[in-house]
C-alpha cells in the first residue's frame, strides 16, 4: 500500500531524511525505533504533508497514488492517519463536533453521504467502548486541558472512529500509564485487519509486547539502517543503538 523510495527531506535547510526506503503491505505492523532526533517524527510529518518539511528527493506511493502530490487533507482522506507525538489543543472546539466534521469530510471525498446524527452517535459509543475512552472527554473541547495520557488516548479514539488504511502512531505509548498502555494496545489490536496497516514509532519494547510487530526498523540519521523481525526490538532493548551506529560509520568494504 505504501512504498517509500530514497526519500529525502529537509527542514529549514537542514537535511533530516537522507534516502529512506520502506515498503508496507496491508495487514502488516511495522515498528520504527531509533535514537532521539534520528528523524522518526520527521518521517511521519513528511508522509502526512506538514508544510515546514521540503521533500528534496525520492518518491512515495500510496495505493498507486503519488502521495507527495496530495494536500495534507487529501492524504488523510485517502486513509493516512497520524497519531501525533504531541497532539495540539484547540480551545472551544468540541471534540465530537470536530470528529463529525472530519468523518464527513472523509466520507464526502469518497462520495458518501454524511453520517446522520443517530448513526454517528451510535458509532461513537461503540468506538468509545472499544478503546475505553471516557465519555466525558468525548464532549470536552479538543484536547483542551487534557492530561498527556488523555491526549494520546484521544488520538486512538479518533483512529478508531476514522478507520484509516494506514495509521502511524508516533510514540503513542509515551505518557501512558501501565493500564492505559494495555488498553490502547488492545484497541489497536482490535482495529487490526488484513486490509489496514500500522506504523508504530516507539522507544520501548513494552508496547511491542502488546502490539506485536511483523517488522522492526531502526532509523538513524535519516535512514533506515537495519530491519528485522520482533527479535530485533528485543536485541535493541538489550544492547542499545551504539553497535548499529558503529556499523553505519564504518566504511563499507
Amino acid at each position: 500500500m505504501l512504498s517509500i523510495k530514497n526519500l529525502q527531506a529537509q527542514v529549514e535547510d537542514k537535511q533530516i531524511l537522507k534516502g529512506l526506503n520502506l515498503t508496507i503491505n496491508p495487514g502488516e505492523v511495522h515498528a520504527i525505533m531509533g535514537p532521539n532526533g534520528s528523524g522518526k517524527s520527521s518521517l511521519a510529518s513528511v508522509l502526512a504533508g506538514r508544510d515546514a518539511y521540503e521533500v528534496t528527493g525520492g518518491e512515495v506511493e500510496f495505493y498507486g497514488k503519488d502521495l507527495l502530490e496530495l494536500s495534507p487533507e487529501d492524504r488523510a482522506r485517502e486513509g493516512l492517519f497520524l497519531a501525533f507525538q504531541y497532539p495540539v489543543e484547540i480551545p472551544g472546539v468540541s471534540n465530537i463536533n470536530f470528529l463529525k466534521t472530519a468523518m464527513n469530510e472523509i466520507r464526502a471525498y469518497k462520495g458518501l453521504e454524511p453520517l446522520d446524527a443517530k448513526s454517528f452517535l451510535k458509532l461513537s459509543k461503540e468506538k468509545q467502548q472499544l478503546v475505553e475512552f471516557d465519555a466525558k472527554l468525548v464532549n470536552r473541547c479538543l484536547n483542551e486541558g487534557f492530561s498527556g495520557g488523555e491526549k494520546k488516548r484521544n488520538e486512538i479514539f479518533q483512529l478508531a472512529m476514522l478507520e484509516p488504511r494506514l495509521a502511524i502512531l508516533d510514540e503513542t505509548d509515551s505518557g501512558l500509564d501501565i493500564d492505559a498502555l494495555r488498553i490502547v494496545a488492545n484497541g489497536v489490536n482490535a482495529l487490526r485487519s488484513k486490509d489496514n496497516a500500522f506504523v508504530v514509532i516507539t522507544h520501548y519494547q513494552r508496547l511491542l509486547d502488546y502490539i506485536v510487530p511483523d517488522f522492526v526498523h531502526v532509523l538513524f540519521d535519516g535512514k533506515i539502517i537495519k530491519s528485522g523481525t520482533k527479535v530485533l526490538a528485543l536485541e535493541l532493548e538489550e544492547k542499545g543503538y551504539d553497535w548499529l551506529k558503529e556499523s553505519v560509520h564504518a566504511p563499507i568494504v
Binding site: R50, P87, G92, F98, A102, E105, I106, Y109
Partner: protein, 481 residues
C-alpha cells in the same frame, strides 16, 4: 385635536412653499438636511408637535457637534448634505421569481442554509400568501397582545402609545449625546418599539426580522425597548443576509430601559456590506446603543456579532443605576480586507453591588484593523461594584492589526475590577492537525475561529447562534494563508 389637525395641514401645505418637493408623487427628498427637511419628514409621518420639536432640538445639537476624533482610525469625510433623509418605503422592483435575483446573492443564501421561502423574502421576491412566517407572525401577534406586550414600528408607537414614547425616548441616549445620535434624533426614519408590562415574560424572541419587509426601515432607525418591573424580553436585531448597498451612512440609536427586577437580552448579528477587497464601498456603521438598569436587580445584556460594514463604530453600553443590577457585554467583531472596527462598551456603575462582565473577541484578517475600546466607570456611590473584562484578539495573517483600549475610572475604593487580555494567532500546528484529519484549511480556520468565539456565541439564542457560526465561516472565507 382639531388644532393639531390644522397644524398638520398647515405644515403639509407649507411643503410647497419651500419648494423642495415639486411633485408629491416623488418618494425621495433631495439631498441635504435643514429645518425644513425635518419639518417635512415629521409632517409626512403625521407626528405630534412635541416630536417635531424634539427632532429640531436634535438638529440644533447636530449643528453644534464635531466629529469624534478619538477612535483608532481616520474618520472618513462624510458629507451629511449629500444624503437624502427621506424616502418612502422603497418601491423596490418587485421580482417575480428567484431567477431574477443576483446569483451571487443566492449562493450566499445557500451557504447560510436559509430556506427557499425565506430566500425569496430576503431577496424581495413577491412571496406567496402561504408563506409560513406570515401566519407564524400573526399567531404570535395575537399571543403578544393577550399578554399586553407592545411590539410595533416606532412610527406606530408614536401614534398609538405617545405617552410611553414621549416619556422614554431620549432618556438613555440624549439628543445631544454625539453627532450621530443627534443626526438620528433629527432625521430618524423608523424603527422598533417594545413594551413589556409588569411581570410578563415575553414568550418568544422578538425580532426585527418579522417586520423587516413590511417596514423597510432606513439608515437612521431608532429602537426603544422598555421592560417594566419583573419582566423579561429577548430581542434579536438584524438578519444575517448580506445587503447590497453603496457606501452609506448608518446611524441608529437603540435605547433599553429595565425597571426593577426586569431583564433585557439584546442580540445583534450585523452583516452590512463591508466594501470590496480594496476597501471601496461598504456601510459606515455609526451606532449609539445604550441601556439603563433603572431599577434594583435589573439586568441588561448585549451580545453582538459584527462581521460587516466598512467601518464599525459602536459601544453598546449600560448605566447600572439600580442597586444590585447586572450588565453583560459579549462581542465578536470580525474584520478583513480593509475593514475597520472600533467597538466595545461602557459600563457605568452608579448603584451599589452592581456587576458587569465584558467578553470581547476580536478577529482580524487581511489589512484590517480591529480595536476594542472599553470604559469601566465606578461612581462614588457604587459600593462593592464589580467588573470582569476579558478581551481577546485573534490575528489571521500579519498585515492586520488588533488593538485594545481599556479605560478604568473608579471613584470608589470598594470596587473590584479584573482585566484579562490576550492576543494570539491561529497556530499552523492547529491547522495542520485538522488537515491531518481530512479537514481543509478553510474549514479548519472556521472551526478554530468558532471555538475561539464560543463563549460569545453561546449567549445567542439557538437559531441565531447557528447562523452566526455559518456567517463567521463565510466572512472568513479566503482569509487563510
Amino acid at each position: 385635536m382639531e388644532k393639531e389637525n390644522q397644524l398638520l395641514e398647515e405644515i403639509a401645505n407649507s411643503e410647497y412653499e419651500y419648494g423642495f418637493v415639486t411633485n408629491i408623487e416623488t418618494d425621495k427628498l433631495p439631498e441635504g438636511l435643514n429645518e425644513d427637511t425635518i419639518r417635512f419628514i415629521s409632517a409626512k409621518k403625521q407626528e405630534p408637535e412635541w416630536l417635531l420639536e424634539y427632532r429640531l432640538k436634535g438638529y440644533q445639537a447636530f449643528l453644534r457637534s464635531k466629529m469624534p476624533e478619538w477612535q483608532n482610525f481616520k474618520m472618513p469625510d462624510i458629507d451629511f448634505q449629500a444624503i437624502s433623509y427621506y424616502a418612502e418605503p422603497k418601491p423596490k422592483k418587485q421580482l417575480q421569481s428567484l431567477d431574477e435575483v443576483d446569483p451571487e446573492l443566492l449562493e450566499t443564501f445557500e451557504k447560510l442554509g436559509i430556506p427557499l421561502n425565506e430566500q425569496k423574502l430576503l431577496a424581495g421576491v413577491a412571496v406567496d400568501a402561504v408563506f409560513d412566517s406570515v401566519s407564524i407572525a400573526t399567531t404570535y401577534k395575537g399571543k403578544l397582545k393577550e399578554l399586553g406586550i407592545i411590539f410595533c414600528s416606532f412610527s406606530e408607537a408614536v401614534k398609538e402609545h405617545p405617552e410611553l414614547v414621549k416619556k422614554y425616548m431620549g432618556s438613555v441616549v440624549p439628543h445631544s449625546d454625539n453627532i450621530f445620535a443627534s443626526l438620528n434624533t433629527a432625521a430618524f426614519s423608523d424603527g422598533s418599539f417594545v413594551y413589556i408590562p409588569k411581570g410578563v415574560r415575553c414568550p418568544m424572541e422578538l425580532s426585527t426580522y418579522f417586520r423587516i419587509n413590511a417596514q423597510n426601515t432606513g439608515q437612521f432607525e431608532r429602537t426603544l425597548i422598555i421592560a417594566d418591573e419583573g419582566s423579561y424580553v429577548s430581542y434579536l436585531e438584524g438578519c444575517t443576509a448580506p445587503r447590497r448597498d453603496e457606501n452609506q451612512l448608518h446611524a441608529a440609536v437603540v435605547e433599553l430601559i429595565a425597571m426593577e427586577g426586569a431583564e433585557i437580552k439584546y442580540s445583534t448579528v450585523q452583516n452590512w456590506y463591508p466594501g470590496d477587497k480594496d476597501g471601496k464601498g461598504g456601510i459606515y456603521n455609526f451606532v449609539t446603543k445604550r441601556g439603563i438598569c433603572k431599577g434594583r436587580k435589573s439586568r441588561i445584556s448585549w451580545t453582538q456579532v459584527e462581521t460587516g460594514s466598512a467601518i464599525t463604530w459602536k459601544y453598546p453600553s449600560v448605566i447600572l443605576q439600580g442597586d444590585d443590577s447586572e450588565a453583560e457585554f459579549y462581542s465578536v467583531a470580525v474584520t478583513k480586507n480593509k475593514q475597520l472596527a472600533d467597538t466595545g462598551t461602557k459600563m457605568m456603575h452608579l448603584g451599589k453591588n452592581t456587576k458587569s462582565r465584558i467578553i470581547s473577541k476580536g478577529i482580524s484578517a487581511g489589512h484590517s484593523h480591529n480595536s476594542y475600546r472599553g470604559l469601566v466607570y465606578v461612581g462614588p456611590k457604587a459600593d462593592y461594584a464589580r467588573n470582569f473584562t476579558q478581551c481577546d484578539s485573534l490575528l489571521l495573517g500579519d498585515r492586520c492589526g488588533a488593538h485594545t483600549f481599556p479605560y478604568i475610572e473608579t471613584k470608589n475604593k470598594t470596587a473590584t475590577i479584573e482585566h484579562e487580555a490576550t492576543t494570539s494567532k491561529i497556530g499552523e500546528d492547529q491547522v495542520f492537525y485538522l488537515n491531518q484529519r481530512g479537514i481543509d484549511d478553510e474549514k479548519a480556520v472556521a472551526l478554530i475561529v468558532n471555538g475561539y468565539v464560543r463563549d460569545v456565541i453561546n449567549q445567542l439564542p439557538m437559531e441565531f447562534a447557528v447562523e452566526a457560526q455559518k456567517l463567521l465561516a463565510i466572512s472568513l472565507e479566503g482569509s487563510v494563508g
